[in-house]
Each structure stands twice: as structure tokens, then as C-alpha cells.
């Protein structure tokens, strides 16, 4: 309702002016601005502070939202479990790995992916845990809202496609057989994990029934994902780090240092032997690395201070959480100046208190293969809605350049020698160049573990290289890890991209 304007009667000009001024109050703004400077500036400052908040909130919602929503620690969407049907899980080629059947989670591939895919009841492990928010992300499309309201149907979560490749996974399982151990295969240029296998495994379809039995089996520990969380003494594969530290310190001069191996070396309080007391004769870094000469590397305790080794280990991810979303163990490197000479010597050849996981070693092999650049390993490739439209895609993520490019290339050469002329000659192939480091790790059981970490490249560059790390518990006799690696390489040869 508008107020009726008062009719201003006509009056001589001066009085009109008075009335005019009465009805229009003065705005003494100019006098004010002379009175006080900076009111404009301060006012502008107030406004900018709020624009900053608003702008950040907009940016946050538009861009950061995806990372936050699917963070493994975010339990918000767990509430949705009551209302949402969990999505399916597929491998990179479309093999079905997990599906809900009549309200029960069913794993068609059974124990093959028991650790990588994990399980969702009795707690959440593996990719069921990492991709949990995607699997329970409700699809609020119009049709599903309609169905939910009027037909009382649950919402559907997203389907998740992993980077795992059934061919590698089956090869790993077949090759490992009844032995205990872990295998990780990944693509160094992107970080995609092609295979993650741990033995012994279990059938996730019978999880509930066998739960107590599985949990109490402390001898075999089938529920443990050895690939990510198994910690073992690295044995000779640790020489990779020793060599890296030595190369970093000396540069090209590292190759000048030679030593004549007599099969054993004596120190203050120890005697350390090469494998089978073999006398390797005069060796330089390349040869010692290729044949895995223990005495050469023990001699390095006098050529290279232990701080360098510690620095290199920490650069390569020891004693810290790795750039990886699934639960995993931290590799351990502990060597103090106060340790005995024996501890020091042992650490240089990968014994002592050092412990590593297959995942970590695969990441390291990948970084070396990728010229020193570590890409974040990941298993979740993308999430789609039930119709198949991509809703979320994970892109390869750069972590850091843990090694200098030159250093990485030097190490690549050392690793190639291992397969050309050294302990890994079993792995040599025609169309693929294989490189890596063998390892035999002594442990409490007396039966050594067998390790291999390395990478393979196609000579014609027709496909991306792969990196891998394999441990076979107690497989030292006969270097079982090499057989497993061979089986994986067979798959690599045949793969077409």
C-alpha cells in the first residue's frame, strides 16, 4: 500500500525551496569523507573478506568435493547402506568380481581376489573399503526417486571398475600355488595396479561361516594381505638401495671402486659370506650387483657412510606411510650409529632390522623404471552408474621425483645386467627387456624367502612397461620368485594394448 503523497501547494519560490529541502533530508556525505579517510577502504576490506569466503566455498564445492566425498575415512555415506544397494565391482576387462545377489554379497571369482577386492561384512577391507563411498553413492535420478517413493525400492549405488587384470592375477595365483607369499604388478607410468595377490587366500563367499577359524589360524594368517601388509626382510633386493646411495654419493666414480671377492669377509665382530661361499673375484659395482656379491656390499660400509643409506631409504619411502589408499604396512629401516658393526654390515646387504612389503618394492621398481618419478599406485579406475555412464574417473597422480633421472637410469642399467649376466638370467627373453634384482632373505625359520623386484619393457615400445615385486615365503631354495616372475612375464608378452 503506497502512502498518498502530500499535495504541495504552490507558493513563492523561496518558501518552495524550504519545503523542498524539508522533504529531502540532506545527505552530508561529502563532509563526512573529509572528516574521515579510509572508511571506503575499510568498507571495501569488509566486503572482500566475505567475497573471499564465498569464493572459496564455491571453489571447494565445485572442485574439491569429489575427493572429499570418496575419502576412505568419510563415514557419511555408510549411513546409506540401509537404503542403497551396493554397486558391483569389475576388473579392467569387465570380469565381474563382486555383486549383490538377493541381499548377499557374492564374489564370482572366489579366493582369487579375496585380498584385493576384500569383503564388506565383518568389517571392510580391500577395495570394498576404499571404494565404499562410490559403491554406496545413491543415484538420485528422477526414475529412482520415483521408484524409491512409490515402489519402495532401494536406491542403487555405483558400479566400480578396477585396474586389476584377470590375466596377471590368475598367473600370479597359479605360479604361487601352495606357497605363502605376495605379488604386486603395476604400471609405472600411470600407477595402475594390474595384480595384487596374497597367498594363502580364503573364500570370501563363506566368510561368515569360517570367520572364527580364519581369524584364529595364526600360523597361516589367511586374512592378511601379504602384498600390502606383509613385512619381510628384503635380503639382497635391498642392495638396490645401497647401490643407489653409493651412486648418488660418488656419481660416475662409483664404478671405479673394485673389490676382490674371496667368498667371505671378516669384520670386527662378524664373518659374512657370499651365497654358497662363491668367490666372485674382482668385481665393480655393476658386476657385484648383477651376481649379488655380499662381500662387495659389506665392503661398502667403509666406502659410504651410513647416513647416506638412511637418507636414500627415507627418500624411497621407508618409515613413512606410502602414497596408497588401501591399508598397508610401513617399511622399516632402523640403523643407528650406535649399532654394532655386524648390524651395519647386515643392513647393507638387506638383513638386520630392515623390513619391507611387496607393495613398497613394486613402487620402488616402478619409480626406477619410470626414470625416477613415482606415480601413485591405485586400483580404482572409475565408477559408473547402473546405466554405464562414467560418474567418476581416477587419473594417474604424480607423487614425486624420488630419484634423479640420471640416477634412475644408472640403476636401470644395473638391473638389466642382473638379467643379462647375473642371478636373474633365467628371466631373459627375446622381445622384452627384463630388469630387476633377485633376493634371498634369511629369516627366523631358517628357510630363506625368495624375492624378485623389477620391471619389464617391450623392445618395440608397443605397450607400457610393467613393474613388479614378488615374495615367496621360504622359497629360497630354487629361487621360487623367479618362476613366479616368469609366469607373469609370459602374460606380459602376450598382452596387446
Amino acid at each position: 500500500m503506497t502512502k498518498k503523497k502530500e499535495k504541495i501547494p504552490f507558493k513563492p519560490i523561496k518558501e518552495n525551496a524550504k519545503i523542498y529541502q524539508k522533504s529531502r533530508p540532506k545527505k552530508p556525505i561529502t563532509s563526512l569523507e573529509n572528516n574521515m579517510r579510509y572508511t571506503g577502504l575499510v568498507g571495501g576490506m569488509y566486503i572482500s573478506l566475505f567475497m573471499l569466503l564465498i569464493g572459496y566455498l564455491v571453489y571447494f564445492t565445485a572442485f574439491k568435493q569429489k575427493q572429499i566425498a570418496t575419502h576412505p575415512y568419510n563415514t557419511r555415506l555408510n549411513v546409506m547402506e540401509e537404503e542403497v544397494v551396493r554397486g558391483n565391482i569389475y576388473d579392467a576387462n569387465g570380469e565381474l568380481l563382486a555383486i549383490n545377489k538377493e541381499g548377499i554379497r557374492y564374489y564370482p571369482q572366489g579366493n582369487l581376489y579375496a585380498h584385493a577386492v576384500g569383503y564388506a561384512q565383518m568389517g571392510k577391507t580391500g577395495m570394498e573399503a576404499v571404494a565404499n563411498t562410490q559403491l554406496l553413492y545413491p543415484d538420485y535420478s528422477f526414475t529412482s526417486l520415483f521408484k524409491n517413493a512409490f515402489q519402495n525400492e532401494k536406491f542403487e549405488g555405483r558400479n566400480v571398475v578396477l585396474t586389476l587384470d584377470q590375466r596377471y592375477q590368475e598367473a600370479a595365483a597359479e605360479a604361487l600355488g601352495d606357497y605363502k607369499g605376495g605379488v604386486v604388478v603395476l604400471e609405472p607410468s600411470t600407477g595402475k595396479v594390474k595384480a595384487m595377490y596374497s597367498s594363502p587366500t580364503f573364500n570370501p563367499n563363506n566368510l561368515k561361516e569360517n570367520w572364527e577359524e580364519l581369524r584364529q589360524d595364526t600360523e597361516r594368517s589367511p586374512l592378511v594381505n601379504r602384498a600390502t601388509s606383509g613385512l619381510y626382510p628384503p635380503g639382497s633386493i635391498f642392495k638396490t638401495l645401497t647401490a643407489l646411495a653409493f651412486l648418488e654419493e660418488k656419481g660416475e666414480n662409483a664404478y671405479d671402486f673394485t673389490y676382490t671377492c674371496e667368498g667371505e669377509i671378516k669384520g670386527e665382530d662378524y664373518t659374512i659370506q657370499c651365497y654358497n661361499k662363491t668367490k666372485h673375484g674382482k668385481v665393480d659395482l655393476k658386476q657385484a650387483f648383477a651376481v649379488s656379491c655380499n662381500t662387495y656390499f659389506v665392503k661398502l660400509t667403509q666406502e659410504m657412510p651410513i647416513e647416506n643409506l638412511k637418507a636414500m631409504a627415507e627418500k624411497c619411502g621407508f618409515n613413512e606411510v606410502l602414497a596408497f589408499d588401501m591399508d598397508h604396512a610401513m617399511s622399516r629401516y632402523q640403523l643407528l650409529a650406535s649399532d654394532t658393526a655386524f648390524e651395519k654390515a647386515a643392513t647393507y646387504i638387506g638383513q638386520g632390522k630392515t623390513l619391507v612389503s611387496p607393495l613398497h618394492m613394486a613402487m620402488l621398481a616402478g619409480a626406477i623404471a619410470n626414470d625416477g618419478i613415482l606415480m601413485k599406485p591405485y586400483l580404482l579406475d572409475r565408477a559408473t552408474n547402473q546405466k554405464g555412464t562414467d560418474k567418476m574417473k581416477v587419473l594417474p597422480q604424480y607423487v614425486s621425483a624420488i630419484l634423479d633421472e640420471k640416477l634412475a637410469k644408472q640403476m636401470q642399467e644395473l638391473m638389466r645386467q642382473v638379467v643379462k649376466e647375473g642371478t636373474g638370467s633365467k628371466l631373459a627373453r627375446k622381445n622384452i627387456q627384463v630388469a630387476g634384482k633377485t633376493g634371498t632373505a634369511q629369516n627366523e625359520t631358517g628357510k630363506d624367502h625368495s624375492w624378485f623386484m623389477g620391471f619389464a619393457t617391450a623392445l618395440d615400445n608397443s605397450k607400457e612397461p610393467i613393474a613388479f615385486a614378488i615374495i615367496v615365503e621360504n622359497g629360497g631354495k630354487g629361487a621360487k620368485a623367479l618362476d613366479v616372475t616368469n609366469r607373469l612375464l609370459q602374460v606380459y608378452e602376450k598382452i596387446e594394448e
Partner: protein, 451 residues
């Protein structure tokens, strides 16, 4: 029940829609936009009231509907009704007293208050009931006191303000409780309040009175003001109320800038403040914890970073429209009813609503600036700019911390957080603003007449 869930999901859009309309119409009152008037004030104010009503009643309907216990349901409806009557009555009274020009400001404040109330009701019914008492107190304070203010708010009452300021600073030492590591709460006859909230207004009034006299300020006056501020800061730091200390100091710098007209002094002050901050970092362990949690909360998600991370999860999981009222888990956020009420609202009502709430705060500031432009005398000008500073800085400190732009500081969100003293004092500041606006308008008309 499925229908109800569907209704809640749809309500997200309704809340977003009405609040968008609300803010558009509210901003049509602001100076830069008054060319795009959108209609007559009366109608616009009615429309604002309509939006407010729909949002409020919608929220209450959902909350009441979700409660299964009949007694609790009645209690919620009762509370909702009281708040509704409070808002309606206040707006009607303002129209009745011909204070139409202020209605926009009150509408903005009520919007904030209402969203805060709905979230508090959703989180903790008893807390909401206590908060309603604070609402009633605050609103009556703001409506009625302008008449009393004319006696109290004068430049000559400088020492009165100083006295109040010192009293509020020293009170916690005499009769203080330590809550959550900060000794800035006082318990008198069962009523618990934070004197530093009252102190901040006293500070503004004191400094305005001290520096609002002549145009050119003497060095002595600057020194006097700085000394008082230093004492106040000292008290606050000893009481470990670092949020209030930051607020007091920044407000002091703003008033210093305006009063002296020299950029140099406040810049020096900022530098000193930075130094103080660094010192505080090394002296106080809990400052270090806060800074670490700010830089990388993901490192210690279950420990020191928990609050920050939960806040980010709350704001980041559901997107623009939120999860729908009662469908999220805001109770998982530590201090969801006080420091972290903004993420809680963002979680359930959506980040879009969060932006609108920020625009509401900005709207209050714009209204404050408009009131400032009308002031004739230095004293009033300093007071209004000071109040603007208090609102802006307080909101920025807490929301910047919640959004992880700056490290988190424990300070309340004006009008939205649970907390009687904060609410009553904020309403008091609104009352002060409306008083000064009204007074300047009166002066304009008087001066217009005396020609």
C-alpha cells in the same frame, strides 16, 4: 516412510529456492542495487517475511515429522511456534513503530537466527530450548534498548565504557570457570556467560569515545587507547581466549586506521600482530596443534585433525543441495552446535545455503556501511564502523577457520551458534546500529528543518 524421505529430498530444493529469492530481494535494498528496485519496500518486506516463514515452517515440519515420540514432537512444535511468533511479532512491531527502514536488517538477522535454530533443534532439542530464551532476551534487548541508548551512548561516557571493559576483562579472574582450556566463562547465580563478548562492544565504544572527539588526534590519545587494548589483550591471553584476543586486536587496528587517518600505524600494528602470532605459536602448544591441523589435517585424521576433517567431510560430501534435513550426520562433527554450526548447516541444507548465509552476513555489513554513510559525527561513525568490524572479523575468523583458509580459532558464529552471551550481545549490536541509524535520520530531518 519412503514418502517422507522423498519429501525431505525435495525439501532441499525448496529451501534452496526460497533462500535464493530471499537474498535477491534483500539485496535489492542495498545501495549499489537500489536502481534495480524490484518493487515497493512494503511489498518486498512482506515477501522476505514469506520466504522466512516457508523455510521456518518447512524445517519444523520435517523435524517434527521425523520424531516418533509424541511428547518430543509437541515440544518441537512448541519451540518452532515460539520462534515463529517471535519473528512475526518483531517484524510487526517494527512496522507499527514506523521503523520500516530497518526491517531488511532484521530480516537478514532472522534468517541467520532461524537457520541456526533449525540446526540446533535438529542436533539437540534441549539446547535449542535454552537458545530460544536467549533469542527472546536478545530481541527484546535490541527492540527496546534504543530508547535507553540515548542516555548511554555518548562520546562523553568514555570512562563508563572503560569501566565495563575492565570489568569484563577482570571478571574471569575473580569468578571464572575454565571450560575447554579457556578461562573466559563466568558463572553468576547459575547463569553462565562469556564476559569477553560484552567486552568487545565496550572496547569499540571506549575507543570511539576516546578518539571521536576532535578531528586531529593527539599522540597521547593514541597511546591511551593502545595501552588499554594492551591490557585487555594481556588479560585475554592469560585466560587463553586467543580467538577473542585476535578479534579485539584487529578491531583496534581498524579503529586506529579510521581515527588517525594514517595507514602507517595500523600496518605497524599488523606487523606486531604477526610477530605476536609467531611468538604465540612457539609459546602455546595448542596453537601449534591448530596450525598443524590447518596445514595438513589428513596426517592425523583421528587425532588433532579430526575436527577440521569432519568439517570438510560435512561440507564436501553432499554437494550444493546437501543431504536433506535429518538425513546427514552433523552430530559426528565436534562442536557442531557452536564453532562448527556452519558446516553442519552446509551438510544438511547444502553448500548453496552456505553461500546464501555468507551473503546474509555480507548484507548485514552492507547495511552497516549504509548506516555509516549517514553519520554526522566522528563518534557515531567510529562506533558503526567498529560494529561492522566486529561482525566481519568474527565471522571471518570462525568461517575462515572452518573452511581451512586460516587456522581454526574457537569463537562463535554470530546469530547461529548456540551460546547465550554471543547471541544477546550480537542482537545488542544490531540494536545499537538501529539506534544510530534512527538517530542520524532524526538529525537529518532536524537539520533539514533548521534552515
Amino acid at each position: 516412510m519412503a514418502y517422507f524421505n522423498l519429501a525431505i529430498l525435495l525439501s532441499r530444493a525448496i529451501f534452496a529456492g526460497f533462500s535464493l529469492l530471499f537474498i535477491i530481494v534483500a539485496y535489492s535494498f542495498m545501495q549499489p542495487f537500489t536502481h534495480y528496485a524490484l518493487g515497493h519496500s512494503r511489498e518486498k518486506n512482506r515477501f522476505l517475511y514469506l520466504c522466512l516463514t516457508f523455510i521456518h515452517l518447512g524445517g519444523i515440519a520435517i523435524l517434527a515429522g521425523k520424531t516418533t515420540d509424541v511428547v518430543a514432537r509437541v515440544a518441537i512444535l512448541r519451540n518452532g511456534l515460539i520462534v515463529f511468533i517471535l519473528m512475526s511479532l518483531t517484524l510487526w512491531l517494527l512496522r507499527f513503530w514506523r521503523r520500516d527502514k530497518e526491517i531488511v536488517l532484521w530480516n537478514l538477522v532472522f534468517f541467520l537466527m532461524d537457520m541456526g535454530y533449525l540446526m540446533l533443534e535438529r542436533l539437540d532439542h534441549d539446547l535449542a530450548t535454552k537458545q530460544i530464551i536467549a533469542y527472546l532476551l536478545g530481541v527484546s534487548f535490541a527492540l527496546v534498548l534504543p530508547s535507553l541508548f540515548s542516555l548511554v551512548i555518548r562520546a562523553s561516557n568514555r570512562y563508563l565504557y572503560l569501566g565495563i571493559l575492565l570489568l569484563t576483562m577482570l571478571l574471569p579472574f575473580i569468578a571464572g570457570d575454565t571450560i575447554l582450556g579457556a578461562k573466559n566463562w563466568v558463572n553468576i547465580a547459575g547463569l553462565r556467560f562469556q564476559p569477553s563478548e560484552i567486552g568487545k562492544v565496550a572496547l569499540v565504544l571506549y575507543l570511539a569515545a576516546l578518539w571521536g572527539g576532535k578531528k586531529k588526534m593527539t599522540f597521547l590519545e593514541i597511546l591511551q587507547g593502545s595501552l588499554v587494548v594492551a591490557i585487555a589483550l594481556g588479560c585475554l591471553i592469560i585466560q587463553r581466549d586467543l580467538g577473542a584476543a585476535l578479534l579485539y586486536y584487529m578491531t583496534f587496528l581498524v579503529l586506529l586506521l579510521l581515527a588517525t587517518g594514517k595507514l602507517l600505524l595500523p600496518l605497524l600494528g599488523l606487523g606486531l600482530g604477526g610477530l605476536g602470532g609467531v611468538m604465540g605459536y612457539f609459546l602455546f602448544s595448542h596453537v601449534q596443534v591448530r596450525v598443524e591441523a590447518w596445514q595438513n589435517p589428513w596426517q592425523d585424521i583421528t587425532g588433532s585433525g579430526y575436527q577440521v576433517v569432519q568439517g570438510l567431510f560435512a561440507m564436501g560430501t553432499w554437494g550444493w543441495l546437501g543431504s536433506g534435513l535429518t538425513r546427514g550426520t552433523p552430530s559426528v562433527i565436534p562442536f557442531a552446535s557452536t564453532d562448527y554450526i556452519f558446516p553442519a548447516i552446509c551438510e544438511e541444507f547444502g553448500n548453496f545455503m552456505g553461500i546464501i548465509l555468507l551473503l546474509c552476513y555480507l548484507g548485514i555489513i552492507l547495511q552497516t556501511l549504509q548506516i555509516t554513510r549517514r553519520q554526522h559525527k566522528r563518534f557515531e561513525l567510529l562506533v558503526t564502523m567498529g560494529i561492522g568490524a566486529l561482525f566481519t572479523l568474527q565471522t571471518f575468523i570462525i568461517l575462515g577457520g572452518v573452511l581451512k583458509i586460516i587456522p581454526l580459532t574457537g569463537i562463535t558464529t554470530p546469530f547461529m551458534s548456540a551460546g547465550g552471551s554471543s547471541l544477546v550481545v550480537s542482537f545488542g549490536m544490531i540494536g545499537l546500529l538501529t539506534y544510530l541509524s534512527y538517530q542520524s535520520r532524526k538529525q537529518d530531518i532536524e537539520e533539514g528543518e533548521n534552515d
